[in-house]
């Protein structure tokens, strides 16, 4: 069975706890994304898995092989773990072909053939092989870095914000290509990023880190709809957070009575809704609809930011909506909630 286990990993830099007792388990063939703001320890975690840094305590094992434990560690070059850095880290003194072939032990024709295969895998042109790294665009450099790491036939591929230097359109295309490529090759991957949209779309497992700690892990859907706390909720996307009186799985709040995902809790709490759970209508259709007045409408193209005044709320509710036609300022709209609200822990 192929899988990665991190157990109680710790790493200090002086008095700063870069990684603080992190335990995580990623299954074989999966794509794990570690997200967190900068300085959250996610890159340190990745570098410990790669073998560039050694944990102070805790252990790492991959496919049953111990990589680090008890202050001892397997050196990076014996791990067979691919690593793609933020800027590609191509060797400037070698051509594209020599960069890709850097870790190959094959010689002569076999080597040429393998390099050609790898270039094809990452959808680069064969005529790029004799170019120098500085003659390539950012996206091409990342493809070369990926091909170079793939040449090792790694058990695991580590991606350290490899798309962040690319422009928006290219970023999405590269992300899809990498996800598909690694899936076809059956290589597990770990992506580190501070971009939640990137993490949600790339991963089938998501881990959120903050201040060196692992806050929550699970499927992207799970984390998006049931975040562990308010900060995580807001980090993963826009959210409406409302005070509510909760009793027997029902929450009473400014938007009326809404079902919550916790049947046990009783008392005052706070609930979270994602904007796409709310529907705007010009007239009250359903009995459960709540009327609100549009006080501000900030047009933003495909979605617009509405400020809605609700009778029971002191400050207006900010809601991003893609509804059409856009309600005029001062008009009344009816709000309906779909699905359950998530009860945030106190």
């Amino acid at each position: 069975m192929s899988s990665l286990h991190l157990h109680q990993l710790c790493k200090h830099y002086g008095s700063v706890k870069a990684v603080d007792h992190v335990s995580l388990h990623a299954t074989a063939g999966s794509r794990l994304a570690i997200v967190g703001p900068s300085g959250s320890g996610k890159t340190t975690l990745l570098r410990m898995i790669a073998g560039f840094e050694f944990p102070d305590s805790g252990s790492i094992s991959l496919n049953g092989q111990t990589l680090a434990a008890d202050g001892r560690a397997l050196p990076a070059h014996l791990r067979r773990i691919g690593y793609v850095a933020q800027d590609g880290a191509l060797f400037p003194h070698l051509t594209v072909a020599d960069n890709i072939g850097f870790g190959l032990t094959d010689k002569g024709h076999a080597r040429q053939q393998r390099i050609a295969e790898l270039v094809e895998m990452v959808a680069l042109d064969q005529h790029m092989l004799q170019r120098w790294p500085h003659e390539l665009s950012g996206g091409q450099q990342q493809r070369v870095a990926l091909a170079r790491a793939l040449a090792q036939q790694p058990q695991l591929m580590l991606l350290d914000e490899p798309f962040s230097a690319l422009d928006t359109g290219l970023r999405a295309a590269m992300r899809q290509m990498v996800a598909q490529l690694l899936g076809e090759a059956g290589i597990s991957a770990i992506l580190v990023t501070h971009d939640q949209a990137e993490a949600l779309s790339f991963a089938d497992q998501l881990a959120v880190m903050r201040q060196g700690r692992l806050i929550q892990s699970g499927t992207p859907q799970q984390l998006y709809s049931q975040p562990a706390d308010e900060t995580t909720a807001l980090f993963l996307g826009e959210a409406l957070i409302l005070p509510a009186q909760v009793k027997a799985g029902q929450a009473q709040c400014a938007l009326g009575e809404i079902a919550v995902n916790d049947g046990q809790f009783c008392g005052a709490g706070r609930i979270m809704l994602r904007p796409e759970q709310l529907t705007l209508q010009a007239e009250a259709g359903a009995a459960s609809a709540v009327m609100a007045q549009v006080v501000e409408c900030d047009f933003g193209g495909h979605s617009s930011l509405l400020s809605l005044r609700l009778p029971e709320l002191a400050s207006p509710l900010q809601l991003r909506s893609a509804s059409w036609p856009l309600p005029a300022r001062g008009s009344m709209v009816a709000l309906t909630v779909q699905g359950r609200a998530h009860l945030l822990p106190a």
């Binding site: 299954t27 111990t66 990076a76 880290a89 040449a151 929550q216 892990s217």
Partner: protein, 536 residues
């Protein structure tokens, strides 16, 4: 299914079964900084402190009364006056000429600017004492303060020209445009905006010129102008290793330290880099017109005639006089071989010694490391004669077998020229960030192989440039070589010196020519680098 297993004991137990025991392949992580690296860098820096330690030790040993008697006497006052006068007169002239030439070649529409620019750097290819030789053999009565000032300006104004030209080239013309838009006349723009931007170049270049004025021996000895350095040398020749020479060396070292601290204090905290994003536009050259163009052209012509015309003319004359016979001098070719040998050995040794320091300054900068670097800079700023005297005294008293051996002279070169190697080497190592080494290791290279295949390969051009700089510095070195070279070995510089001391100008000419030829690559390198740092 992923899990955060930190809390549940079941998961912890499962994790324990997954890591049964530490497998034998696991190693203790290596130290981030190998001990030998920090150790050898410390050793090199301690060596660099030898000359200063020597001066302090000798002052203590000599005793306060003798020190007072040797230092506070009319002769020292006379030398101090002479040397200060030389600096005070030469420096403003160098600055004025350097800036004028820099502005003309970088910012005006002077015809053939590229050529004038190359000609302004070219005097550096002629060793200072060869300038002296060219003039004294042309005008035998050429001596005294005026001659010293003229020759100093000729030999050293490129030290101001180079940084000033580079600063002008880098300067954002938008600054000057803004000043003009604020209502300043052209001359006021130059005085209030351009000149302050050149401050770093002027101070840095000025320091370099002053240190050379204090350290130079051959130039002033040949025109019989007494400075500290020539007096120390005379004293050394008459009384060998006496306290008088050592005390003079102490005063000279003190002067150098004073200059260094004055420059450091005056550098200030003002910002000179461009504020804001994007890259600067190229400046539109100022139109000189006839009224200014003609005098400007005459200035360039006169400078080139004095700095290059005279040496070329005299050298050509003596070479012509000597004909083919001068080249059959039995001592000439051994001297060339000796120079190449000293240069090559010194260059390799110096660059090797600079590796730990350069490595630490790029990969693990710290206060201790900066302190060590400071030691090396101070020592290399001391005149060669001070370092040489220190090594003479130390080897005679503590390591007699090393006195006047190749080892001692190579050590002197190491102490004098280490920063030249350090600067190039540091730039080279900075070309190979640790990230690339990590990438190589993740591709299956052992740490040693990663170092060899990536870092050393990328740092090699920097190391080569450093070696070239040191090599060329050694091939023109006169003072320390005269004091420390093993008996009977002559380099081009000391051979040339011996010939001119016998007023055999014809025999000296081939030596001078060979030194100029050896220096040309360095000059070209400086020219090339100054263009490249400006991105053109």
């Amino acid at each position: 299914m992923p899990s955060t297993s930190s809390s549940t004991s079941a998961a912890a137990a499962a994790a324990d079964t997954l890591h049964p025991t530490t497998s034998p392949e696991l190693r203790l992580p290596g130290r981030r900084l190998p001990l030998w690296l920090s150790g050898s860098s410390l050793l090199v820096s301690l060596l660099a402190l030898l000359p200063l330690a020597f001066i302090i030790a000798i002052s203590i040993q000599t005793g306060w009364e003798t020190v007072v008697r040797l230092v506070f006497r009319p002769r020292v006052g006379e030398l101090l006056f002479n040397t200060s006068l030389l600096v005070v007169l030469t420096l403003p002239l160098c600055v004025a000429l350097g800036i004028a030439m820099a502005w003309l070649t970088e910012r005006s529409n002077l015809p053939a600017r590229r050529i004038w620019s190359a000609l302004a750097i070219a005097p550096l290819a002629v060793p200072a004492f060869v300038h002296s030789y060219a003039w004294i053999s042309l005008l035998p009565a050429f001596n005294g303060l005026a001659a010293a000032v003229l020759l100093s300006v000729i030999a050293y104004f490129p030290f101001i020209y180079l940084p000033a030209a580079a600063a002008l080239r880098r300067m954002d013309p938008a600054l000057e445009d803004s000043a003009a838009a604020l209502g300043l006349a052209p001359w006021a723009v130059f005085r209030r905006v351009t000149l302050p931007q050149l401050r770093l170049a002027i101070w840095g270049g000025g320091l370099l010129v002053s240190l050379h004025l204090l350290a130079e021996y051959g130039l002033y000895a040949m025109i019989r102008f007494d400075t500290f350095t020539t007096a120390i040398f005379d004293q050394f020749q008459s009384s060998f290793n006496g306290p008088a020479a050592n005390m003079l060396a102490g005063v000279l070292a003190l002067c150098c330290l004073l200059l260094l601290s004055a420059e450091a204090a005056s550098r200030g905290t003002a910002r000179y880099a461009r504020v804001g994003a994007g890259s600067a536009r190229q400046a539109v050259p100022a139109r000189l017109g006839w009224r200014w163009g003609l005098p400007s052209l005459l200035l360039c012509l006169a400078t080139a005639a004095l700095t290059l015309g005279v040496p070329l003319l005299t050298l050509g004359h003596w070479l012509w006089e000597g004909g083919g016979e001068a080249w059959h001098n039995a001592a000439l070719w051994p001297a060339l071989r000796q120079t190449l040998l000293f240069g090559a050995a010194g260059a390799v040794l110096t660059v090797l010694a600079a590796v730990p320091l350069a490595w630490l300054s790029v990969r693990a900068p710290s206060r201790l490391q900066r302190l060590q670097e400071g030691c090396n800079y101070i020592t290399s700023a001391l005149p060669g004669i001070v370092t040489a005297l220190a090594l003479v005294t130390i080897t005679i008293n503590f390591a007699r077998p090393l006195y006047q051996t190749v080892l001692t002279i190579l050590l002197a070169y190491l102490l004098m020229f280490l920063p030249r190697a350090l600067i190039s080497l540091r730039a080279g190592i900075a070309q190979a960030p640790a990230e690339l080494e990590n990438a190589a290791r993740s591709l299956g290279c052992t740490p040693g192989r990663a170092l060899w295949r990536v870092t050393l390969r990328l740092a090699a051009p920097g190391a080569a440039a450093g070696m070239a700089m040191v090599f060329l510095a050694i091939s023109n070195e006169l003072t320390a070589t005269l004091l420390l070279a093993p008996n009977g070995t002559r380099t081009l510089a000391t051979g040339f010196w011996a010939m001119t001391s016998e007023i055999d100008y014809i025999a000296a000419a081939p030596y001078a020519l060979l030194m100029v030829v050896l220096s040309l690559p360095l000059t070209w390198l400086l020219h090339y680098h100054s263009k490249r740092t400006a991105g053109r």
